[in-house]
């Protein structure tokens, strides 16, 4: 995941929000341009929240907990001044 992909995800989510705002304008007709922008931010925060929930569910399924084998001893831990 690099910066470009991350920005693209956010931009595509905002683009969806913007389209949704235009649809609302078409239905209601009284929204100003500033209103569309404000509405798009509100829809974006809702979509982003849903995206995070979906992502958490997705990762909860993929990233299964695994109890691994190994030999971990306390001698390997180093603290302050050691």
């Amino acid at each position: 995941m690099n910066l470009t992909k991350f920005v693209l995800i956010l931009l595509s989510l905002y683009f969806i929000s913007l389209i949704a705002s235009f649809i609302v304008k078409k239905w209601t007709l009284f929204l100003s341009w500033a209103g569309i922008i404000a509405l798009s931010f509100i829809i974006f925060s809702v979509i982003f929240g849903l995206f995070l929930i979906a992502l958490a569910i997705g990762y909860a399924i993929i990233k299964k907990p695994v109890v691994e084998k190994g030999d971990y001893r306390i001698e390997r831990i180093k603290g302050k001044g050691e």
Partner: protein, 243 residues
């Protein structure tokens, strides 16, 4: 370069500089310096790197300290915690959490890097932007709490509470892993995910994050009074009555 870390939970690192030796530090981290040390603020690495640093929680300008003879310069972090020296090698870059950088030798390069996985960005606890220390020399990092260091061998891993990782070598794989069991997820207190670090490489963990410290102190902080005494008379009465 000689250095000495003093203190327990509010540590200061004092660096001894030879003539023309140079160290640089996060702006505002200076505690003291000898009079033969010259201090100069610089946007090291140019405008873009300086902007990048700002995103990583550092300052736009870094302060350079050059000595005109044997000199001393001391730095401290901005929260109760620990200072740790890191040996940075050309083949051994280090990634540290946002705002962890304190100061470094001139040969160390401070830049920003990004989390590679989407899951780690949102649920790893360290965010998207991190700091990368590369080049050659000693760098000092500072974070809240005490530190625990561990060298992971090839294939070995460790699970850490999200947000409690201070830094890791570039060779370490940083990922997340779900907590097992619905009951543990909801009532275990660690949330849905844990950070999963897989070796080889060194990892540094912290006993307390700044966020956890703030949350622990929050109930004891004085609240603003909506009514009551204020101004000079109020202050006088408060001090007289011991409130």
């Amino acid at each position: 370069m000689n250095y000495k870390i003093t203190g327990d939970n509010l540590q200061v690192v004092t660096i001894e500089l030879d003539k023309n030796d140079k160290v640089y530090a996060e702006a505002g981290s200076l505690v003291y310096m000898s009079p033969n040390v010259k201090m100069e603020a610089k946007a090291r690495g140019g405008l873009l790197k300086a902007i990048g640093r700002k995103f990583a929680g550092e300052t736009f300008f870094l302060t350079e300290f050059t000595s005109n003879g044997k000199g001393l310069v001391g730095f401290a972090g901005n929260a109760p915690g620990t200072i740790l020296p890191l040996e940075i090698d050309k083949n051994k870059g280090f990634i540290v959490q946002k705002d962890a950088f304190l100061c470094a030798e001139d040969g160390v390069e401070l830049s920003i890097t990004f989390q590679r996985r989407l899951g780690s960005i949102f649920f790893g606890g360290e965010g998207f932007i991190l700091e990368r220390l590369s080049g050659k020399g000693i760098a000092f990092v500072h974070a809240c709490g005490d530190f625990i260091e561990m060298d992971l061998k090839e294939g070995e891993s460790i699970k850490v509470d999200t947000g409690s990782v201070v830094g890791w070598e570039e060779s370490v794989d940083y990922d997340i892993q779900r907590v097992k069991g619905i009951k543990t997820i909801f009532f275990g207190g660690e949330g849905l995910f844990l950070t999963h670090l897989k070796g080889p490489g060194k990892v540094i963990l912290q006993s307390m994050t700044l966020h956890n410290l703030a949350m622990a102190l929050a109930p004891f902080l004085p609240r603003q009074q909506t009514s009551g005494r204020s101004g000079i008379v109020g202050t006088f009465l408060d001090e007289t009555l011991g409130r």
